[in-house]
Amino acid sequence: MSRSKGLARTIGFTMASLLLLSGCSALGSSEVRERGVSARDTKIVLSNVETVSTLELLQQKTTPPARVRMPDLGIDMRVEAHGIEGDGYMSLPESPFVAGWYAYGSAPDSRTGATVIAAHVDSLPEGIGPFAGLRESREGMAITVTDDAGEVHDYRVVSVERIDKDEVPLDRVFTATGDPHLVLMTCGGEYDWRGAGQYLDNYIVTAEKVA
């Protein structure tokens, strides 16, 4: 054990004094995840982990987002807090010109997880909303979220997906884990004129936090 401690010191890995010697790639990454403990060997050495501070978790407050901007697409919208409707779906502002933040998930200043902001793509009588532009999102585009305290959080688009609503990986989209990131969502794809009167797909723009 003292050998491991020495190695940890040699490498000088200080982030939470945590050292991964072998096995899975990086902490917090779910790359090449395999089921079953037998599939991978993991050895982790913890030394001098500051643990007194776990009490701080009891007081952790997050700050709701107030505005979302995506200059490349001319998006600049007010954001209000939303939850879940009685039918189990995420509730949204009626107007496609106002975005809704999923308040039962992470916020821009959370330690982990997805800040999810969604808006209607259109409505009658208001017409087509700014999030209709999300289909033009490209990797690398900048997004900023200003929170209620005036703090500006900068993001960069890493992926743009259009997924059949029945197949949206909701656990991934609304995850409370992983590095803090932003997910913008709206509807798109084919509109079901004869059936339920709704779009069949969701656009999902995922952006990593850069500042």
Binding site: V37, S38, Q59, A176, T177, E190, W193, Y199
Partner: protein
């Protein structure tokens, strides 16, 4: 197949930048394990399944598990475990003496916390296994899980003198399924007038389980080891459009799309004419 990745490489890209993490709730087919070290005074090494997962130099106060972040320790290997028996051996780092050696039985779909803590009143090293509750009775609620894992008599949990849970003895847990709110001046003690472990104002977010493990005595002090599991409530979907004004369907055939298609046709025709004219002029 309508699912398309328009930029980036979707889930693969998300994984490489660490954003493809699943919700914190355990899957139906696998088990999650969180480890809490609440035995004061001994740094330990934890060996799971004959060295498949080893955690060395785990100090008192550490909470480790899948998806956790500082001040806790995130260990993905403790998530998505196949159900079955896992041998767990805990030794004292200082002298390699064995403190615990037993099998941990994991069932699919269950999230566990394995807590090393003292017995009461002897103060011997023991391990308790708890199942973590991952559902709230109502949307908008959160959970406060309180586990008595200290060498002290029965305590109740109070907020500003009002009892929230208890009495709990060593090895017991209480789960509060309550509205997201800030609960002022939360403490544990044998009665409302004798706070033994002071936790301060506790802010409980909706959809989050705050798990509190009593710690002590460390010298004469009592404290708590805390970690959180979020993502307890996920919506069933995001219905984000209602008018069909930006229909992308091929041959939707009716309504607004018909007008859009006609307009598109006119543009195409116009473009075609322009191209032909340019071609003609280039030939001359």
């Amino acid at each position: 197949m309508r699912n398309r990745i328009l930029a980036g490489l979707g889930a693969a890209t998300l994984a490489t930048v660490g954003l493809a993490a699943p919700a914190n709730a355990v899957t139906d087919e696998t088990a999650d394990v969180y480890i809490v070290h609440a035995f004061p005074g001994a740094t330990v090494d934890i060996n799971i399944a004959s060295g498949t997962i080893t955690l060395d130099d785990v100090g008192p106060g550490v909470a480790a598990g899948p998806g956790l972040a500082s001040p806790n320790v995130g260990i993905d290997a403790l998530g998505d475990l196949a159900p079955g028996d896992y041998n767990v051996v805990i030794t004292n780092t200082a002298d390699d003496s064995e403190l615990f050696n037993d099998d941990l039985s994991l069932e699919a779909g269950v999230s566990y916390t394995v807590v090393a803590h003292p017995t009461e009143p002897a103060g011997d090293f023991t391990v308790s296994v708890f199942e973590n509750q991952l559902t709230t009775s109502e949307v908008g609620n959160g959970l406060i899980t309180v586990r008595h894992t200290a060498n002290v008599g029965a305590v109740s949990v109070f907020s500003d003198g009002t009892e929230l849970a208890g009495p709990l003895s060593n090895g017991d847990e209480g789960v509060l399924d309550v509205a997201a709110a800030t609960y002022p001046n939360v403490y544990a003690g044998p009665d409302a007038d004798t706070p033994a472990i002071e936790l301060g104002d506790v802010t409980l977010p909706a959809g989050t389980n705050i798990l509190v493990h009593a710690f002590g005595p460390d010298g004469e002090d009592f404290s708590a080891v805390v970690f959180t599991i979020g993502g307890l409530t996920t919506p069933d979907g995001v219905p984000a459009g209602s008018a069909g004004l930006v229909d992308e369907g091929a041959g939707a055939g009716f309504g607004w799309a018909a007008g859009g298609a006609a307009l598109l046709l006119m543009v195409l025709v116009a473009a075609g004419i322009l191209v032909r004219r340019q071609t003609v002029s280039a030939q001359r």
